[in-house]
Amino acid sequence: MMLNEYLGMIKDQLDRRNINEDEKEDILQYIEEMITDRAENGEDEAEVIASLGTADKLIDDLFPDTKAEYVEEKDIIRRKNISFTDVKKIDIDSTNYDFSFAVSDDDRVYVEYDSDEYLSLDIRFEHGVLKIDQHNSIQGIGFLFTSLSKMFSKKGSDSARKYEAIINLPKYRDLKFDIDNVSGDMKFTDIAAADIKINSVSGDLYFQSCDFAKLKIECVSGDIEMNDVTAKDKCKLQTVSGDIRAEELESKEIRTETVSGDVEVLIRGERSDTDVRVEKPLNETTSRVDGSRYLKIETVSGDISWDFTN
């Protein structure tokens, strides 16, 4: 293998781990210097590189605290475990992983996930952004083809193998989320964050006791279910056929839009303080009070039911 190719693989491994930028620069320089010195002193460059072992094994040896550990073996699906500090943003790109978000005991972000020869998660951490991408092997792509048909038939296709990822986060209000998922369900319990943006196709979303600044959700057929959620500045919920059910939802500006999905919302706060606009063909309600808050519900053929706690 050539020096630059090997250094590229090392850089790749470093980006997957919670190692700070200065340290990464340092280690890359160290490895390059070592290989070049040995080559200058008569050893064959390719042989030197071979003697160092694979990039991931080398980084495991140098930074044992950052190893992805195997927690348990479930049949042939293995559980992997990895953690990070100073995470500012979580960026997820998945097809069918189910995600559960809960609070961790400290200031680390813990990711525990299923992994096998079909599907796994590619986790990278760079400049404060934790990037989690679903990785499909060649066999994995074949596996997804078959589960794709199941996805459009029965919701929550129990016959398909479940891949789960559990993310425990510190209660850090400035955390941002950008999530793209297709059929995986997502559950948020007790989460505090700044901006959350979620795109889902058929995956269902559940929120329990969460505190956000801005929430924006776009679903196709997935349902949105919320209980005791505050999206202080703005809450936009959009589905095609998915149902929206929110109990004790609080926000300065709520917009819910569906095509055929049903909407049932119980807003925490004063009706007298909110401008309301409900749009359904042949059935519109507008109530303007020049209030400090705004509620808009729009559907084509879904059923709408809304109320305020006060």
Binding site: Y30, E33, D37, E40, D61
Partner: protein, 104 residues
């Protein structure tokens, strides 16, 4: 050698190799050849550890169009080596006692 014993000893070996002159990664490994077996992946964490405990400092020098990192022992580092030799003298007394008992 017992791994616990080896760990502390390797750190001191690296410091000792810097007592009389500054050196760089590859040269440190070469100078310890025959004394202790140390690989690149073993040396790196040792250098990190010693630098963060102020036992050595580093600087870069140009060599053949690239930068080579040199390490230099500090006064704290020299103290560490002295302490180690002192500890070892005490250890030697214990060793002599054990060896005597074994011979009996």
């Amino acid at each position: 050698m017992d791994i616990q014993l080896k760990r502390g000893t390797l750190d001191i070996c690296v410091l000792a190799s810097l007592l009389n002159e500054d050196s760089y990664g590859y040269k440190i490994i070469q100078s310890l050849n025959g004394v202790v077996d140390i690989s690149e992946s073993t040396l790196y964490p040792i250098l990190r550890r010693l630098e963060s405990s102020d036992c050595l400092t580093s600087y870069s020098v140009e060599h053949n169009g690239r930068l080579r990192k040199f390490y230099s022992i500090t006064d704290t580092g020299r103290e560490r080596v002295k302490e180690y030799l002192q500890d070892f003298k005490e250890l030697l007394q214990i060793y002599n006692y054990i060896a005597k008992e074994v011979k009996k």
